[in-house]
């Protein structure tokens, strides 16, 4: 592994996932934690080393990351103490905000801009400065889920139309699109870990291809959907017909609060829905996904799935899965691996949509073909790319 500093610029750096990424890398550096949860640990093919990763990023809250981490309460006491000074040394840059896309979350650390173009310039300038302190950089979006944008809009249909919309300050353009545009313009790979549409529009894909910048997304596959894309292919393989799948989630962190807003929720649920049809090859009419904001859990998240299947002789059976997980603990290492893969792609000169990273996403961006949702087939895709 060559010695180079990989900078990860995180949109939503002060959130639970962002601070967990930073703390985790620091604790790895100190040797006080192992590589549990990091899928590509041990794969040495030109990746930046975990120890050589540095962080920066934007957040609507201006608190330094030690204060932020204290609120999120993800780390143990001992871990917090060990990572505290490293966390305290990072303060998020002011973030681009737009209430029409994100209603619930307040925070005063807001980028002042009058036009989309101004916002883009400021973001580009942040990235440029950040790049100066490292060898390579990647932008990862971890900001709260935006209201669902209309990916089919004419304004997003081509780079040309999109740039006209930028000039016209079109209300259709969300903050996460501005970040994606700015990153690509800077030649910095962009990974979207959230369900927001962001780079998943023809215009930005065109832009990424033109500049040969790797992009990937969207919506990190952490808990319930991870289990869903593991079980569903096996049910198909056994010819067990899925008659219904009821999924409910309770979670109590900032992400959960954002999702208690109807518009953000719609965005989230959409990416969860097509999964089953894509894997099973038929529509499951009783596929229900609920997400509820429930504070007693804090950052702990719980999913309960009930699956009704029909087997031989038309006999009904049931599978229930109860996943008591920790949102940030599952998300942070995946976000780190996505960044390392995007960086590797950039070094290999492979720009555009990185479809081989599908295993990390609930709603994978593709180069145009059919989305692969089955976990083990996504895994094979990634292994092939790593091996090549």
């Amino acid at each position: 592994m060559d010695k180079r500093r990989l900078g990860i610029a995180v949109i939503g750096l002060g959130g639970a996932v962002g601070t967990t990424m930073v703390a985790g890398i620091e604790l790895l550096r100190q040797g006080v934690i192992g590589t549990e949860g990091l899928p590509l640990a041990g794969t040495d093919i030109g990746f930046a080393a975990y120890e050589d990763i540095v962080f920066g990023g934007w957040d609507l809250f201006e608190a330094n990351l030690a204060k932020a981490a204290e609120n999120h309460d993800v780390l143990t006491h001992r871990q917090f103490v060990a990572a505290e000074s490293a966390l305290a040394s990072i303060t998020p840059w002011p973030a681009a905000a737009n209430k029409s896309f994100l209603a619930n979350i307040e925070g005063g650390n807001v980028l002042a801009f009058d036009t989309h173009r101004e916002a883009i310039e400021q973001i580009r300038s942040d990235i440029t400065e950040f790049k100066n302190g490292c060898d390579d950089a990647v932008v990862i979006n971890l900001a709260s889920t935006e209201r669902l944008a209309d990916a089919e809009s004419m304004a997003f249909s081509s780079l040309e139309a999109f740039e006209s919309a930028i000039e016209a300050n079109s209300p259709e353009i969300s903050p996460s699109m501005l970040y994606a545009y700015a990153a690509i313009a800077e030649g910095v790979p962009y990974g979207n870990f959230t369900p927001s549409v962001s780079a998943d529009i023809p215009a930005l894909i065109e832009f990424a291809e033109k500049r040969n910048v790797p992009v990937a997304g969207k919506d990190g596959k952490t808990g319930q959907t991870f289990i869903k894309t593991v079980l569903a292919p096996a049910l198909r393989s056994r010819a067990l017909k899925v008659e219904g799948w009821y999924s409910t989630n309770i979670l109590g962190n900032r992400d959960g609060l954002a999702l208690s807003n109807e518009d953000s929720l719609r965005s989230k649920i959409k990416t969860k829905h097509s999964v089953l049809r894509d894997i099973l090859g038929y529509e499951v009419e009783d596929h229900i996904v609920d997400i509820r904001y429930y504070r007693p859990r804090g950052d702990n998240k719980e999913a309960w799935d009930n699956i009704d299947v029909v087997g031989f002789l038309g006999m009904p059976m049931q599978i229930k899965v109860n996943f008591l997980c920790r949102d940030s603990i599952l998300a942070a290492p995946l976000a780190i691996e996505i960044a390392r893969c995007l960086d590797l792609a950039a070094r290999r000169g492979e720009g555009g949509v990185q479809e081989q990273l599908s295993v990390f996403f609930k709603s994978p961006m593709t180069k145009g073909g059919k989305v692969e949702q089955a976990f083990h087939l996504q895994e094979t895709m990634l292994e092939k790319w790593l091996g090549g």
Copy 2:
């Protein structure tokens, strides 16, 4: 699909799985059920058609299959009525019994023999007669689990040693070994759906190779282990360290009763145990498997798994899976597909251990190499064979 009658001779024909196989094929023939639960439905590469399958077999109970099915109470009322006459027309042949291998289950339909050799001759004669009524035949073992035989015994180390042990009426030779020997001697493929050691000894593998007869086993992968071999590879893929896996089963059918005998239970649990180490690549010290005979469920079986994993930052998380399944409903279609695959192998001239059928077994027989336990890799192996 060519029109030929495939005969399946079932050891333990009158059990819940055996009668469900027979009833299922009859109901398919009548068009009153679909192909749910049959993994290879729709794969047309020379398989015998479901409708062209006929049944015979041995059982310690002499009741005809209609009476047997009534006791097992697997079919709905309407299904029973539709299949009744077909079931009533089949009466099991007397079966080979040996109390030192199977203590709990009684039944009077016992093959009279003084020596192993006599038993083998009688079984061969049953098979010969059965073959006369069909184009091809396969023997499938569904009998209750035998006491764990010592697969490392010198008596099983070569065909020559085994045949000497037969002549010496060695007490080490179990009934299911006699069946396997007889089937191979007749050139009829043999599939072992039970955890009994049976054909999984060097002697019988040598015999199968010598005669170029396909054999496969052992222990059909129906419920909990199916889920286990689906989830464990995904946990490995996400680098979630498995600290403990507690699996408990409650079931109330004849199979459950047999397992309430300590010796049979040991046999069953053994095949469940190595699975995790093989998939994960490390030993899970707190891997516990319980099986309890619990009558309220009848043929319905319930598994509860609790999995303790450790993720990023060493944080513990839990996954719990509750599978409310039906033993015979899961097992019967797999036993049918195993028979069809063994028949296909025979027609292709591929004798010996059929490792590509691993996806159907908890404890796959191999040609000597490492056992593959991960469900999706087993599936790939089978697909490759089917495709070729």
Copy 3:
């Protein structure tokens, strides 16, 4: 037990619960089922015998009860055959409908009336005729949940105001209020098994007291709330502080479909909500109740509860309850017992609100004091009444 015919006139007779009541009594009469699920079996203090109960009632669907029962698919095949002729002999009378109170459910068996007064007269005439065929009668409401009426409305504040509202054909008066009024006017006890407000308004309580007619309600306590009112008092008794209680339900019968209408759902959830505060003595801020229409289950209903409690040293613990129940199987025997109790109260000359029946209801009607929600205290109340 004296030999007298108790007639139960059911509003919503053709529903799953109504047909199950009728079939159950018929099967008890034939001696083919036992008294499981009937809490007062074996209590002999003047109750009408189960065998002496007869049924009539209203429904928006005109199908006879055999046809209705076939659709609901609650009975086993053998039970259906045994009860079929008894069921077929009963056809529901036309029912009062009002789309502003019940939007989702259609059905052509509608009572024609222009004014509230006409509707009341027709219902009274149905009751009069029904009473002729039995010694005593009771009206039980099992109709689909109405939109939540405003129980605080001036129109409901006194009998006088209510009767003026009747004459004025006030849109505030729901069908179930018309039924309750008619029953009381006929001197027939009225039990409300649904969450609809119905008799739980000052006007109708005044009417019931004036005529000395027993009334009881509302919302039969069958599944999840039953468990909730059993567990919550015990948690209080152990000083385990409830921080959150997440309850979700999936169900697929006609009742579930009605609840997929927002207005009916609100009515249902309201009666579920105050339960915890009443029992625990403090507000559980994270008390969430979800109900989802999910067809694979049919009449089977499933509840999943997650309870977060805090114990000694402020330590969090969790209890999860998964209840796989059958809606009509739990509801029908309770509706029968409510009818027998109301009849007993009438014979004892005890009119007005029957608070001692609280154990059967999610949202018990009271004589004015505090509602008792703890299951075991409700039980004690009933036992005392039965004993006296």
Copy 4:
């Protein structure tokens, strides 16, 4: 509440429950925790105040309680720091050991004695000295479960026989009997929180009555049995017939290790078994209780119950309860309350078996009548005693 120091002498003081009791009282004294989990908080009728409780006791491990608590890992980091000096100031006295009653657990802090009489004298001397430092004292047994003693033995049938057996150094007498005898001899109340037979023999009950010393036991009702005795009465009340009840437990603390010894396990399971019959009034043939030592949980304990019930029309339903609890967190406050109640009884001059404390025990000692197992009836019994 009068100001007096209540001393609790704990057998097994250094265990997870014992150290949690000590830490909890210290943290209450400091005002850093609330009274969650303490059922009698707020009941002020002559109880010793929590803040005025002091501790002493015996343990086979000689580590001071701070070291012991560190191993058990029950407290949060902050709680440990706050309680550390108080914990460190207490070191357990040498404990009586007998390998024939407790095989698994080792520890060098052993009382040296040649005869039962010597052991008793030493224990009495420990108690006397301890009493000097407080106003009143109680002995509470929290030691690991002993091998099941034969409570019907002639040696235990009367005080006279027992004292003869002491002189004869009878191998039938277990260590916990010696402690109970010593406490009663000292006029100090004795509470047995473990499943060991201990004081629950005619001889020691006779002794307690003769000396008018309060005794209570046995086996603290913390997790699964608590839930069982709450749910079972409600199922009975609803006439839901229990066909089977499968209970399994996984736990990883020292108590769990002791239970991995067959003999101790038998003792534990016995007290769990009669519960259902006593509450339901009939035998549940498929009542299974499993306990498994499973280290990933540490002091966290998990219970999974599956209950099969039959309702109206003979229809089967299922209830599953998953209790993720913390053994010491549930046990410690109950042990404290038992001590306070025994002390109150002593001050009231009420000696002998304290049946009104049944709500705290899995296997309540009685004055001779029927054991009451239903949680809510036990609660009523206690409330009546407290109120009187």
